[in-house]
């Protein structure tokens, strides 16, 4: 084989390197192309794509390209840190404080004020989630609240009134006793309630016990008496039913997005789920499925009424985006009542705007949509604490609950462990914020 001369190799390399070269800058006055990343796939993505298409059709200066990105929290961080973020991104509400304080987002205060978008137009809890350290970082796209969902038929079969859901934790456990069935070989056949179904919010059980994870100022409260009470409730499950029995029972859970969802096959009679549960029921539950939705029980229903975990998807402009003005134009378009209702109806959720057309409710297929809206508007609508170390904190809390659930640690040890570790991390973050606050605030005020 004749060995090619070095010069040939260099030319070959240069030729192959051409695709990696940057594109020339577009001529002035050309259409601005925006990259928009969001987490949705399937029909949820279709709902947003419809709004994107409307926006693109309504004017010819800006064109938005929608991409479905999996693990968006990881990928967005990498892209922003690397200096190549998308122009608009849809993030989970619990990411906002982390990203904002790490200077990964563009503040929206000025642009929102100029567009006359104000707090009063939204259900309060959603606006509050968009604020951090005195600045506006995002605007809501699709909201959600969580509720107790139950299978009315199974209630009837157990001799319970299908229209009277449990209101307190004690009642919940009493119903659980009645609805749980064992097999002759000692294994669980079906359960009334199991906290690990679906198990998305393990770090936040304290909310229904009057706990919060942060005192709002300088201390985390992972091991407060209320959080201990909540985890002791979790701990009571392996104590009552047996760790192995519960794990075997869970191992048999089918894919949640399928007819094998244990809630639909009657293996679990009650669960806590978000407003999107309607979509699962419509697509996968048997035709004659009867269900109800109500506020999830709390430890003291007289004192703690209508407690719900509220989350939302939010639109942000990552720091370093080259087209923030155009990006905001797109966000503003989505926030208008007509488009917001189209998006939320398409995803079968409710709207984060206070003003909502009667048509929206008429057209909405979810029979309990007003219950979910009421929960979002309740005084006890709560959300994940806006802490900079929330990623680690929630990871740690999930781990602690998992250890309690599998009998590896008792409540006090597990929570003390989390408290100690996370308090130290929190103090480091606070120290970092103290150091950087003047410079960052100045920067944000000017943006």
């Amino acid at each position: 084989m004749h060995f090619p001369r070095p010069i040939h190799l260099c030319l070959l390399a240069a030729a192959l390197a051409l695709p990696a070269c940057q594109k020339p800058a577009p001529p002035p006055g050309a259409r601005v192309e925006l990259e928009y990343w969001d987490k949705w796939t399937g029909f949820e993505a279709d709902a947003m794509r419809a709004v994107v298409d409307d926006f693109n059709a309504s004017q010819d200066r800006i064109h938005v390209n929608y991409s479905s990105i999996s693990q968006i929290d990881h990928k967005l961080m990498l892209a922003t840190a690397g200096g190549v973020p998308p122009d608009v991104a849809g993030v989970y509400s619990w990411m906002l404080s982390v990203y904002a304080e790490n200077n990964a987002l563009t503040p929206l205060d000025r642009m929102a004020a100029a567009a006359r978008i104000t707090r009063g137009q939204y259900i309060d809890v959603f606006w509050r989630m968009c604020m951090h350290q005195g600045h506006l970082w995002a605007l809501p796209s699709t909201p959600s609240s969580t509720a107790l969902i139950w299978n009315k038929k199974l209630f009837r079969q157990a001799g319970l009134d299908p229209n009277q859901p449990p209101r307190s934790i004690a009642e919940l456990e009493a119903f659980n006793q009645k609805l749980t069935k064992w097999r002759p070989d000692g294994s669980l056949q079906s359960m009334g309630y199991i906290p690990e179904m679906p198990g998305y919010w393990d770090s936040l059980w304290g909310l229904w016990f009057g706990a919060s994870l942060w005192n709002g100022r300088d201390a985390l409260t992972a091991n407060s008496p209320e959080n201990i009470a909540a985890c002791q409730w979790i701990e009571s499950y392996p104590k009552r039913f047996g760790v192995r029995n519960l794990l075997m029972f869970q191992a048999g859970f089918g894919n949640l997005a399928s007819p094998q969802n244990p809630f639909f096959t009657g293996r679990v009679a009650m669960e806590m789920e978000g407003v999107w549960v309607y979509n699962y029921i419509k697509n996968y539950a048997p035709a004659d499925f009867e269900w109800g939705a109500a506020p999830f029980p709390t430890v003291d229903p007289a004192r703690l009424k209508d407690v719900a975990l509220v989350e939302m998807d939010a639109l942000v402009i990552p720091a370093g985006s080259k087209h923030s003005a155009e990006a905001f134009e797109f966000i503003q378009y989505v926030e208008s009542q007509k488009n917001m209702e189209k998006l939320c109806l398409g995803q079968r959720k409710f709207s984060p705007l206070l003003e909502c057309s009667a048509e929206f409710y008429q057209k909405h297929p979810n029979p309990y949509i007003s219950n979910f809206v009421a929960l979002a508007k309740s005084a006890n609508a709560r959300y994940a604490p806006p802490l900079t170390n929330w990623t680690q904190y929630s990871h740690d809390m999930n781990n602690a609950v998992n250890r309690i659930w599998t009998g590896k640690a008792d409540t006090l040890d597990a929570l003390d462990d989390v408290q100690q570790r996370e308090q130290q991390i929190f103090e480091r973050r606070m120290a970092r914020w103290q150091r950087l606050a003047p410079a960052l605030t100045a920067q944000w005020n000017n943006q």
């Binding site: 084989m1 990696a20 991409s67 990105i69 892209a79 200096g83």
Partner: protein, 280 residues
């Protein structure tokens, strides 16, 4: 029992052990292939069955479709492999020549330094190198994934140096007396003698780049720039339950090119390893 009888008994025993081990080593491949041809419900069934009831050949095109930009990922990966092979072979050969075929002061001490760099774990330099590329504005492009290969990795230099050391000194001497420059000696005389070793370096680099996951994970941002390895991981982590049949089909397609390449080059490859490993 004398040694010859002993050896005669050993031979079949060795064969049996190797056959059992061989089957164990091939089983995962067979399992991967088998799962890729099953419908989803059969992948989830017990007891385990090896042969699908009806081979679902359409799993393959469906997996390609499900991955999104499959052919783009393949093109991106191929591009990176070619660039990396060219860069590695060229720069490693040059450096290995400098460390072996020319006598100069400080050469061996510097080579010890080179050996020491093999101990530096990638995680240590990952963050600063990432920051460096960020300042250069290269994050999100392919450049961090192929430009470094033009700067001779320690392992390849080590390998090629071993080989160069094995070539007799007189051919270089004769050429020097004839008035050739070092570079001419390198290009016209030494390199042509090294084809097996160069092939080994090229193959190792091709396979490493084809497989590389961490690099693309942190340096690439836009989905359409992903490589096959990253695209496969993206496919795996999409929400909903894992679709094992599609995932195995996609994996089979990603594995296949490397295996095919190996089959075509294996004799030279083994030769090359033996040649470079000989002098220590």
């Amino acid at each position: 029992m004398d040694t010859r009888q002993h050896n005669r008994l050993l031979q079949p025993l060795v064969l049996v052990i190797l056959i059992v081990a061989g089957v164990a080593f091939l089983a995962p491949f067979a399992w991967m292939l088998s799962t890729s041809l099953k419908p989803l419900n059969e992948t989830m069934s017990l007891p385990v069955r090896w042969i699908p009831s009806v081979p679902q050949w359409h799993n393959y095109p469906e997996a390609i479709h499900g991955m999104g930009y499959f052919w783009r990922y393949a093109a991106n990966t191929l591009f990176l492999c070619v660039m990396n092979v060219v860069g590695t072979v060229a720069s490693s050969a040059l450096a290995a020549y400098g460390f072996s075929r020319i006598e100069w002061k400080g050469r061996d001490k510097l080579f010890l330094v080179l050996l020491a760099t093999m101990m530096i774990p990638f995680p240590v330099i990952m963050v600063p190198v990432y920051s460096l590329f960020r300042h250069l504005g290269w994050i999100g492009t392919f450049r961090p994934l192929w430009v470094p290969s033009f700067f001779a990795g320690a392992f390849n230099v080590f390998l090629l140096r071993q080989f160069f050391l094995g070539l007799p000194k007189d051919i270089s001497e004769a050429a020097r007396i004839d008035g050739c420059s070092e570079f001419q000696i390198f290009l016209r005389i030494i390199l042509p003698l090294c084809k097996p070793a160069l092939l080994v370096v090229a193959l190792f680099q091709f396979m490493f780049t084809w497989n590389d996951f961490l690099g693309p994970l942190i340096y690439l941002a836009r989905q359409k720039n992903f490589t096959l390895a990253l695209g496969l991981e993206n496919f795996q982590s999409q929400n909903g339950g894992t679709e094992w049949h599609y995932l195995m089909a996609a994996s089979t397609m990603v594995v296949l090119p490397v295996i095919v390449l190996f089959f075509f080059t294996q004799r030279t490859f083994i030769q090359g390893i033996a040649a470079t490993g000989s002098k220590n």
